[in-house]
């Protein structure tokens, strides 16, 4: 995992609408990067659904929630619609998992996707806090996010 205090590696990825989004776009605001294994797996669905329910409270803390997985942005759009969520989903698709690797979140082959990892990036673009799940099948409850922000 990337270490707290390090400069968060900048990236530019496409969101669910195909629009390019860079980490540096959020400079001056806090961002919680939510790395997850993949769209449409039941656990990912529950994770993002639960976070969606407390998104206003996360926003109250001045934090933008951003999901990242290795899926294409087309899949992200369908996944977002299926879950009924409006969380930004970024596509770490080509080169596959490059951003997850830069943050130390990638699980190499045969899995080939990001572990469930939370990375809080502060207003200056530095890593302020991280959380890594013991395995991709477990995800941190929303309370863990609020612990980090309190």
């Amino acid at each position: 995992m990337i270490a707290v205090g390090e400069q968060a590696p900048d990236f530019t990825l496409r969101d669910q609408d195909g629009e390019k989004v860079s980490l540096s776009d959020f400079r001056g605001r806090k961002v919680m990067l939510v790395f997850y294994p993949g769209d449409f797996s039941p656990v990912c669905g529950d994770q993002l659904s639960i976070y969606q329910e407390v998104k206003p409270e996360i926003a109250e803390k001045g934090v933008e929630l951003v999901g990242i997985s290795v899926d294409s942005f087309f899949a992200h759009k369908a996944f977002q619609e299926k879950l009924g969520i409006d969380t930004i989903l970024l596509s770490d698709f080509e080169p596959k998992g490059e951003v997850a690797r830069a943050y130390g979140s990638y699980i190499e082959a045969p899995l080939g996707f990001a572990n469930r990892t939370l990375v809080l990036v502060d207003e200056d673009g530095k890593v302020a806090w991280t959380y890594e799940s013991p395995n991709p099948g477990e995800f941190p409850g929303a309370n863990v996010i609020f612990d980090a922000l309190s």
Partner: protein, 151 residues
């Protein structure tokens, strides 16, 4: 500002929805729009001991859930909370407003009162209170179960 940081589930209180008796049992954080909860419900309700129902509607995933939780809570104001929950889980294909009114009639509830209650801010707050306690306790899927007595 709402505090959603980690905390143990609140102890069972007088306005919790409790079925059965005894020190031992389970607190269930459940979503009335959730198929997994519906599938588990017959087994949960047959468990020995106390069953404490707490609201955990995931509105983004199950858009009808908030209305169903409000309906159950409104039925609870007339003493028929679990009857409404049982009925909603038993017949998941019939959860639109006319189907709720049929249930109200079948359970012998006052429809005008039910309609006023289920749309009230008080009930919305009551449901949200349960939901937030589940978030603070780290509920990550439904049904989320906690054993009683709490450790």
């Amino acid at each position: 500002m709402t505090d959603l940081s980690s905390a143990a589930i609140p102890p069972v209180g007088p306005d919790d929805h409790v079925r059965g008796e005894g020190e031992e049992g389970v607190v269930v954080y459940a979503d009335l729009g959730c198929p997994r909860c519906a599938a588990d419900w017959p087994r949960l309700r047959e468990r020995p001991g106390r069953l404490v129902f707490r609201h955990f509607p995931l509105a983004s995933k199950h858009p009808r859930s908030p209305a169903l939780h409000a309906a159950a809570e409104a039925a609870g104001r007339q003493g028929r909370f679990f009857e409404m929950v049982d009925s909603l889980y038993a017949d998941r294909g019939r959860v639109d407003d006319p189907h709720l009114w049929e249930r109200v009639e079948r359970l012998g509830l006052d429809l005008d009162r039910f309609e006023a209650d289920r749309r009230s801010a008080e009930i919305e707050t009551r449901v949200r209170r349960d939901f937030e306690s589940g978030i603070r306790a780290g509920v990550t899927s439904t049904p989320g179960l906690f054993s009683l007595p709490a450790a």
